[in-house]
């Protein structure tokens, strides 16, 4: 069953067609990866799904309901959570308080501060940042900031989690931990839609992959299928000479 359906989405900025007629089906319970060269429209698609941008054309259906016109906070309440590629922690708040925001406001039914604190503590434990809970966010390393991004998104208790390059900048060990933790999130019943450039992780994680180029979908299928697609190889080789897609990893 489709949890998220994108129908012919379009978004232009001035003369630049960032997303040009994108259709996508994300099934409940799967890990779906969007890959593609820089500027392919992946992050714009995330902004359309989470409601930060309004599409020029097309429809977004989440869990059978048309949410194309819904506000970002309404989408959060209906079960869409996301991280940001450039980590955006709330300064003036501790790590735990950052996560508490999600617990407090990610649901329609309000939570007390005590309940939110307790639940935020368990999200911190789940994402491996419980030892940092009382720390100020300034001075955290990249890996911990990425974990905080995921923790905040999880604290809204999403049914669909959008992960925007959470592996970028991680060491191989940290990336392996991240892969394991994303699997655990999926196994707990959350559908995952992710953007990433780290192909080894995408291959390990994704049930299905869509490849975007110039705002359009040029291939969709298993990682192996898209990795051997001539159009995909051309898009990547045309963009980056070292050819980032290597099925061997």
């Amino acid at each position: 069953m489709s949890l998220l359906v994108l129908e012919d989405l379009m978004k232009a900025f001035g003369g630049l067609q960032a997303v040009g007629g994108l259709s996508l089906n994300v099934h409940a319970g799967e890990i779906f990866a969007m890959i593609g060269p820089n500027g392919a429209g992946k992050s714009t698609t995330f902004n359309l799904i989470s409601g930060l941008f309004a599409p020029d054309h097309g429809r977004i259906v989440f869990d059978g309901k048309d949410i194309t016109g819904a506000k970002p906070h309404e989408r959060a309440h209906s079960g869409i959570g996301r991280t940001f590629q450039l980590m955006q922690p709330f300064h003036d708040m501790s790590v735990l308080e950052n996560v508490m925001v999600g617990e407090l406001f990610g649901h329609v039914v309000p939570k007390t501060l005590e309940a939110a604190r307790r639940d935020a503590e368990s999200v911190c434990a789940l994402t491996g940042i419980d030892h940092l809970a009382d720390r100020d966010v300034t001075g955290l390393g990249v890996a911990d900031l990425k974990r905080l991004e995921v923790a905040r998104a999880l604290a809204t208790h999403p049914r669909l989690l959008l992960l925007d390059e959470v592996m970028a900048g991680l060491t191989p060990t940290e990336a392996r931990q991240a892969v394991a933790s994303i699997r655990r999130v999926r196994d707990s019943g959350v559908t995952v839609l992710l953007i990433d450039h780290v192909m080894g992780s995408v291959r390990d994680l994704a049930d299905r992959v869509a490849v975007l180029n110039f705002g359009k979908k040029i291939a969709e299928g298993s990682f192996e299928e898209v990795a051997h697609d001539p159009g995909v190889i051309e898009a990547y080789l045309g963009e980056e000479a070292d050819g980032e897609i290597k099925p061997g990893g």
Partner: protein
Amino acid sequence: MAGAALLAAAAALPFWLNRTQPYFLQLALNVLIVAVLALSWDLLARTGQLSLAHAAFFGLGAYTSALLTTRAGVPVVAGIVLGGLMATAVAAALGVLTLRLRGIYFAIATLAFSETLRVITKQLRFTGGSAGLVTPPLLPANLPAQYLVILGILLLAALTSELVNRSRWHFAFTAIRTNEEVAAVMGIDVVRFKVLAFAISAFFAGLTGAFYAHVFLFINPFEAYSLAISVGALVAPIFGGLYTTIGPLLGAVALRIGEETLRAALGSGFLIIYGLILAAVILYMPRGLLGLWTAAAARRHAGERGVTAPVSGNGQA
């Protein structure tokens, strides 16, 4: 505890000052007016909305109450409350219009709004034009009682501020101030909280303006909508410590008393020194007076736990 003692002292103040030093009671009343405006400004600033329009809400409150009491025969107390409510209603409408503006653009829009109100008030015959309005008194010739009224308003503002800072609103305000987009995708209704903050903030500014009108018994557009009021409302929280209840109060007390002392000591040139002190505090103490206190407390705390702090050489206690 300390707060209750302070409040008791503040409430007792007029009863001995009034007999011995009425000038100081007048000064204390002015300090309280600035303190309410400072808290009101800070409440709005917690959502990242930096207003240059506090004079607008102060003036709206003052004129609403002045007009209702002189032209419609409304009792003074009711006029003051309605003055606060008028400011609230206008702020909610303005808040919706300025939602998309951030930082300096928001500040400029609010300044324009305030100046517009002043020009309109100056031009209309209905509002008394540039000659202003003479207003009926609140608690006539009873300075101690007037002082207690503004103390009560300040208490209400301080309670509101504490309630906000101890509730989920604190999380919403802080998140919106840091990053509206992240706040929104985490489920915060940004529009609602920004407009709410604007409305609450304006209520206290309007209430204070209306109180002012019936204590000083005369208002005109130049004073009621003066930039000095807007600037005073924002300098005190910055000086004392932003986003707290104590900071704006501390800032208002320190600034007003400092200003009076400098004026008495230096005469007409005092504003130069005053300005230099302000600039130094803003440059070198980004967390204001309250920041000095918390830094000292943190050092003491570190010392108690036996952590070797690089600042002190001898004290181990």
